[in-house]
Structure formats: C-alpha cells, structure tokens
C-alpha cells in the first residue's frame, strides 16, 4: 500500500497520480503558493502566452499551474527528453494546459516538441539553456520578432543570450535567473550539493564516513558538494584554477591541490566545473582502483567518458546506473554515463529549493511584462530578489532585525565630531 492509490485500493489514473505529485510540491512551496501567486494575480498575466521549457516533472508542473491560475495561456515543453514524466503531463492536460511534451522521448521527438512550442507563438519564455529561444530565432524568425521577453534559468543559456545580444540579434529584453541571489546561492549550492550526495550514495550503496571525496571546481555547485560531503564525515579535496576560490576552499577546511595530487587519494570524484573534460585522458593515470566518478556540472562530457571508453580494455554494467571501465587492472566506475548525476540518477532538486528558483522565474516574467526594458540581458532587481527571501523567511516565522539610527555611527556620513 505504499503506492499512491485510491482508498478502495483501485489503481489511480495517470492524471490522479500526477495531481498527487503536484499537490506534494504545492504543500512544500510556500513562496510560490503564497507571495508569488498573490503578486502575479494582478491581471498582468491575463491572456499572455508563456512557454515553460524546464525539466517536466512535478515541480515544473506546479509552476505552470501558478501561471495558468493567473490567467496566462501556458505552453509546456520539456528541457530534456528523458526527464518528462507521464502522470504530470496527463494532469496538466486535464486542467487545460497545453503540453507539447511526451514521456519516453528521444532527441528527435524532443526537437519536434520544441518546434511545436515555437509554432504556438509564445510571447514570453521561461527557458532552460535558451533552447526554445534559439530555435525560434533559427526556425521561426517571424515569430521570434514577436517575442516580448525571456527569463533564462542557466549560465549556459545566459551565455547564449549574451552572444545573441553581441550580434545585435536580441530584439527583446531577457532576464537571467541564475544571477539572482535567491537562485544561485540556494539552487546551485544547497540543491545540487544535497542531491548530488543523495544520488552518489543511493546509486552505489556506499558509505560517506571516511570516504575521500574530490570536488573539481569550487563555484557554488562545488562549494555545496564539498560542504555536504565534509559535514557527513568525508575527507574532502578540492581542485580549482581560480586562486581566490582555491583560497576559499582552503579556509573552508578542504585539502586543495592540482588534480595530479588530489586524484590519487580520491575514492569519489565529482566534477562541478560547468566546462568540458574536467576529468580527461590526461588525468586517467591519476585515478585509483575502484574510484567512483560522477558529474554534477552542466556538460555530459565533464567526465570524458568517450576518452575513458577508448582508453579502457573493457566496460560493463556493474549496477543500475553504474558502468565500470577497466583501465589496466584498475576499475573506474562512472555514474549515469557522465550525465548530471542528481537529475539522471535522482529526483532532481528538493521541492523547497525549486520554490525559490521558480519564484525568481515567475517574478522575472511578471517584471518583463510590467516594466519597460531595453532589449538585452538584464538581471532581476535586488528588491524583487530580496522579497523572495523575505517571503521564504516569513513562511518559517523568522523575523528580520532592522537597522537602527544609532548603528549608523560607523558609516561616518552625517554625524558630528568624526
């Protein structure tokens, strides 16, 4: 009786299961369900066509319902063919939301889905990797011209939008959610940090106490992973190219070094650079026997699985999601084929984290609709960013301290006798 089921024991329909999953998200998303819902119900979303292109599971579905409840015409597509969930799609369709995605797709069907979303002429896009924005530019330049704004989730998408801006192709304003503090300080650090550890341990059934975990890259994602690993009793190592970040890692209590010095110790290696080939052919000699390699960064090739395959004498499936490559007499285990381990091997970010990230996206979209902005790449105003954190804190019953006049002494601006 652990499965979601009706009280009489009959199996539920896909739509019922999807609704139950979305309801679980709602009850754990106080910011979206309260502050954001109220703010966007001012009528400014009425009749606006908004395309949502994000991993299509329950959290994204809840975002779509918030927009639809505020009067928008919502078009939902997935941002990855493998992460679209059937019950959630069914639940959205049954409440009249246009969904152009289907589960169990491949790259080809996903391409068709994005083209279909483009055909529906969205005015606004909540995009991931600028995937839909790019396709509209290439395939429907006529509809691309009619776009009024894009709110982009990722660093990669932001880079693409900036490249378009540099070439003078951006005819509308865009916002980069990743630059909001309520996104990267939580989603990248706590969300990816926690769920990467969950996926690592669940997929391997190994212990973390005393494990030697090397984190490559000390951006927000790397910081989160290293912090959780250390807190759980691992011996942590960090490799970083930026001297300031490396110094920060050192002061956070991690052992910092080049990959040549760090890898030979590591029993688990997590790539978190956002670039490609963070672990490439030139590093294979440093890996010890029985090491577990995982990727927590954007590129599927942060661990150069192709080069690993070329260098190895054999490859086998050791366990669900775990491939073992034989390099000489060393066994090298790779999780999820090198794809983002917390998404491919886990349930994605915690609900409470996406409550913040999607609040940034929704308020960003509302801001694009209500504020005249120059074409180009913008970030959401600090006041909006702050208001999201304030709403989250309020849901916990946390009170902020206020700054008082007598605390201003140190600022030395308008006081006598300095």
């Amino acid at each position: 009786m652990n499965q979601i089921a009706a009280r009489d024991g009959k199996p539920l329909s896909d739509g019922d299961v999807g609704r139950a999953q979305i309801e679980w998200v709602r009850r754990n998303s106080p910011v979206l369900d309260g502050y954001v819902r109220n703010l966007v119900s001012d009528g400014s979303l009425k009749g606006k066509r908004i395309a949502v292109v994000v991993h299509l599971e329950a959290k994204t579905a809840f975002l779509a319902t918030i927009l639809a409840d505020a009067g928008a015409e919502v078009i939902v597509a997935g941002s990855n063919p493998r992460t679209t969930r059937g019950p959630v799609v069914q639940a959205l369709k049954e409440r009249g939301i246009t969904v152009v995605a289907a589960p169990d797709g491949d790259h080809h069907s996903w391409e068709q889905e994005l083209r279909a979303a483009a055909e529906l002429a969205p005015e606004y896009i909540i995009d991931d990797g600028a995937e839909l924005t790019m396709r509209m530019m290439h395939h429907r330049p006529d509809l691309f011209k009619l776009l009024k704004g894009v709110s982009e989730e990722t660093t990669t998408g932001t880079a693409r939008l900036k490249a378009m801006q540099a070439e003078g192709l951006l005819t509308f304003p865009t916002l980069t959610a990743n630059d909001a503090r309520c996104k990267h300080l939580f989603d990248n650090k706590f969300g990816t940090g926690q769920t990467t550890m969950q996926a690592l341990l669940k997929m391997t059934n190994r212990k973390i106490a005393g494990a030697k975990v090397a984190v490559i890259g000390y951006g927000y994602v790397g910081r989160g992973i290293a912090q959780y690993a250390k807190a759980m009793g691992a011996l942590t190592f960090v490799s970083e190219t930026d001297p300031v970040r490396a110094l920060e890692a050192h002061m956070d209590g991690h052992t910092v070094g080049s990959l040549a010095t760090v890898l030979p110790e590591a029993t688990m290696v997590v790539a978190a650079t956002g670039g490609m080939r963070a672990v490439g052919a030139r590093h294979f000699d440093f890996l010890r026997d029985d090491v577990v390699l995982a990727n927590a960064g954007h590129h599927d090739l942060e661990i150069d699985v192709e080069a690993l395959l070329a260098a190895s004498t054999s490859k086998r499936d050791s366990r669900e999601g775990v491939e073992t490559f034989l390099l000489g007499n060393r066994k090298i285990h790779v999780l999820s084929g090198g794809a983002l381990v917390n998404i491919a091997g886990g349930a994605g970010h915690p609900v409470e984290i996406m409550d913040l990230t999607f609040a940034v996206q929704t308020l960003g979209t509302h801001y694009l609709m209500t504020t005249p902005l120059e074409p180009g790449v913008h970030i959401i105003p600090k006041e909006l960013d702050d208001s999201i954190a304030a709403a989250k804190l309020q849901s916990f019953g946390v009170t902020l301290e206020e700054i008082h006049a007598d605390q201003n002494d140190d600022f030395g601006l308008d006081k006598e006798g300095i």
């Binding site: 679980w24 706590f190 212990k207 759980m232 050791s318």
Partner: protein, 412 residues
C-alpha cells in the same frame, strides 16, 4: 513471453551482478575468507545463514562456502530479494527463501531449513534459534552454537538463558564494538537520513528534527541530520546519554516540549511506544514521522490507523488527518526506512558486521565445545582483526606500540 527458467536466469544474473558490486566494497570479508579457507577449519561444517537476504549478506554466505563450509540460507519473504536467491542457488547453496511469501510459508521454510541439520546458525532476531528450541530440541543436541546479529535477538536469548532454557552457546555479534560503533551509528544513521530525503524530495536544511533516543542509532541519525543542515533536538530517558547529546551540540528536551516545533521525528529507540499517541496533537501540521533502526511499534500507528483517515499522498508517504484538522505524515508505514525504502546499510559498514559473523563461526568451531549454553561475546582478537584490515584498506596506519609505550601503559 519468457518461460520461468529464462526469468530465473535473468534474475540470477542481476543478483550475481549486485553481489559482485557489494563484494568490491567488502575487502575485510575477503581477507577473512582466505584465512579461513587456508585453515581448513570450516571443511564439512554446515552453517545456516539467516540474515536479511540481499547482496551483502549473500557475500557472507558465499565467503563461508568458499572457505569450505556447506551453507544453507534462510530468510523471511518480506526481507528477501529474489534475484539474490536465484544467484545463490546458481552457486549451489541451499536457499530457503521466497520473496514476498506469507508468514505460513515463512514458517514452513524455516522448518525445512532447520531440518537440514545445521551445525552453526547465524541468526537475526533469534527467530530460528527460538523455533529450534520450541519445535526441534533434538536438533540442538548436535549443534555447535549460534551467532546473533541484533540487539532485539540478544535480549530474548539472555532471557532464555536466565530461565535456564537456552540449550546452545550463542555469540552476540551485536555487542562487538566493531559492530555497533559503526553499523548502528554510521550505517543506520547515513542510510536512514538519506532514505528520508530520497522518499520526500525535501531538504532538512533549517528544519527542526527530533531524534527520539540517543543510543548508537540515535547518535548516527542526529549526526547525519545535522550534517544535512537540520536543527536537531534529542529526547532521551537516560541522563548520561542526554548529557552527551547536550555536549554534542544538540538541544535536549522532553518529547512533549519538542513536539510543537518538530517538523521531522526520527524514532531511534527500538522500544515499543517510544512516540506515544498523546504527542500527535502537539505536532505542527504536516509533521513527518519515521523510524530508524527499529520498527513501526515505536510509532503510534494503531492510534493513527484508528482515525480511518489514511491517505497515501506520495509513494511511501501516508497522511493522517487528525480531529484537530492537522495532518501527520508517516514514511514507509513506520518501518525502519533504510530497509523499507532503501538498500539497508552501506556496503563497507556491512563488511565489518558480516566479517565479525564469519569470525564468530570460526570461534564457535574452535572454542564452543568448551562452553556451557549461554550468551558469549566475540573475542577481542577477532574485533581487532576486523578493524585492522579495514584500516589498512582505508589507507590509515596505526601508531606502533613500542616496548617503551607498553611499559608506560602498564606502569603504576
């Protein structure tokens, strides 16, 4: 359609793959298997392995077989992984376990298992030992002894001994430091906290988490919950353990005091009724209850079920609507969540516990003929052997014990 032989073969392959993966994380067991094999001690000895049947315990059964023993395996249907059953059968072991079978079938299998005339029993919860005493006392005559894995099995064995009813010597593997200091703390702590996160897709960051009981499991749960960002509150009846919790940096309160802010409650006591029904209405709306290490008997399941409002809101998450209008959530039907909804303890941790079991078998063969029926500890030598091998594998080295140090330690 595949016929059942093909299905069994595919299951056996899956089981073998998972057993092989576990084996890679169990270097201690491998060293001990080699040593026992070379000693020839296990030749002709019939050992029964009656633990939760999954890839890690399968490695113990295989290690004993490789060391020369003849091995039979028993497990209840609710704790059996069928792919592992098929894989072990493929290795020539006698397996008395069927995934998902009912209690009647469990009993029938346990009887058949006992009737294979075991020399040594490795037991979990003392269930097979008790059955043998009840139904097959004649089989106990020729039995060398037994080894028990859990706290809940050692307790009734001691009771039986006090009552003069225990007929064989039993080694309490559970009481070994190399077991409870690691298995209960790091194994159950990590796996229960991670299972809670996996089931719910939530965070613990900033949440008030109440850990009921600060025994070895409670300490582990508190440690990992705090590591995930929780604000941990410990409840404890023992003043010394409670004082330890204070010094470990946790708030310590009575359950009634902590309940109003308890967003997540882990019961880690192994004691019936540790979370009484009276607590339910004190909890905040949507509080999550679960069990670490023990079973549903720790939680007020009867009171919750009597409400008649159970609703499964997510896989392994049951919601109960209370008369006040507040809701309470229970994970995994109140069962120990690392077993009901995850793969149990991590592999390397079970390497320690199961290696101790192998050494308990050795100790029973070499020493038990000198023993009266009773409950015995595993030898310190065995405990240290396990720790030393694991240390070596972890890349750690010990400080050498010099004659000067020895003299200083012994001085007075």
């Amino acid at each position: 359609m595949m016929d059942s032989t093909q299905t069994d073969k595919m299951l056996a392959e899956e089981g073998a793959r998972n057993i092989e993966w576990a084996k890679q994380g169990m270097p201690v067991l491998k060293v001990i298997e080699e040593r026992l094999k070379n000693s020839g001690l296990l030749a002709g000895v019939h050992v029964g392995v009656g633990l939760v049947l999954e890839p890690k315990t399968a490695n113990l059964a295989l290690a004993l077989k490789n060391a020369g023993a003849s091995v039979s395996v028993y497990c209840q249907g609710s704790s059996t992984t069928q792919s592992v059953v098929e894989a072990l059968k493929g290795e020539g072991l006698k397996v008395f376990a069927e995934e998902g079978c009912d209690a009647d079938r469990d009993l029938q299998l346990a009887r058949e298992y006992l009737q294979t005339k075991l020399d040594i029993i490795i037991d979990d919860g003392a269930s097979v030992i008790r059955l043998a005493h009840k139904e097959f006392p004649e089989l106990l005559e020729s039995m060398l002894g037994a080894a028990e894995e859990t706290t809940s099995g050692v307790r009734p064995l001691r009771m039986m001994h006090e009552a003069g009813q225990l007929r064989i010597p039993v080694i309490s593997v559970n009481d070994a430091e190399t077991k409870y200091l690691f298995d209960n703390v790091y194994g159950t702590g990590q796996s229960c906290v991670m299972a809670m996160l996996d089931i719910t897709n939530l965070q613990l960051s900033g949440r008030y988490v109440v850990v009921v009981g600060y025994g070895w499991v409670g300490r582990g749960v508190a440690k990992y919950a705090a590591a995930m960002g929780a604000r941990v509150i410990v409840t404890e009846i023992d003043p010394i353990k409670a004082l330890q919790a204070v010094h470990d940096g946790y708030r310590v309160q009575s359950l009634a005091e902590a309940a109003p802010i308890a967003e997540v409650v882990f019961s880690a006591t192994g004691i019936r009724g540790a979370v009484p029904p009276a607590i339910l209405e004190l909890l905040p709306d949507g509080a999550i209850l679960c069990t670490a290490g023990g079973g549903p008997y720790e939680l007020p399941m009867a009171a919750l079920q009597a409400l008649g409002t159970e609703k499964i809101v997510r896989q392994s998450v049951a919601e109960y609507l209370m008369p006040s209008g507040k809701t309470v959530l229970v994970l995994g039907e109140g069962d120990c969540i690392n077993c009901s909804d995850a793969e149990g303890n991590p592999i390397e941790i079970m390497d320690l516990s199961l290696s101790l079991q192998a050494l308990a078998v050795e100790q029973i063969i070499t020493e038990a003929h000198k023993w009266q029926p009773g409950v015995y500890p595993i030898s310190t030598k065995s405990e240290q052997e396990v720790a030393r091998i694991r240390l070596e594998h972890e890349g750690a080295s010990l400080e050498p014990l010099t004659t000067e140090l020895t003299a200083a330690i012994r001085s007075w």
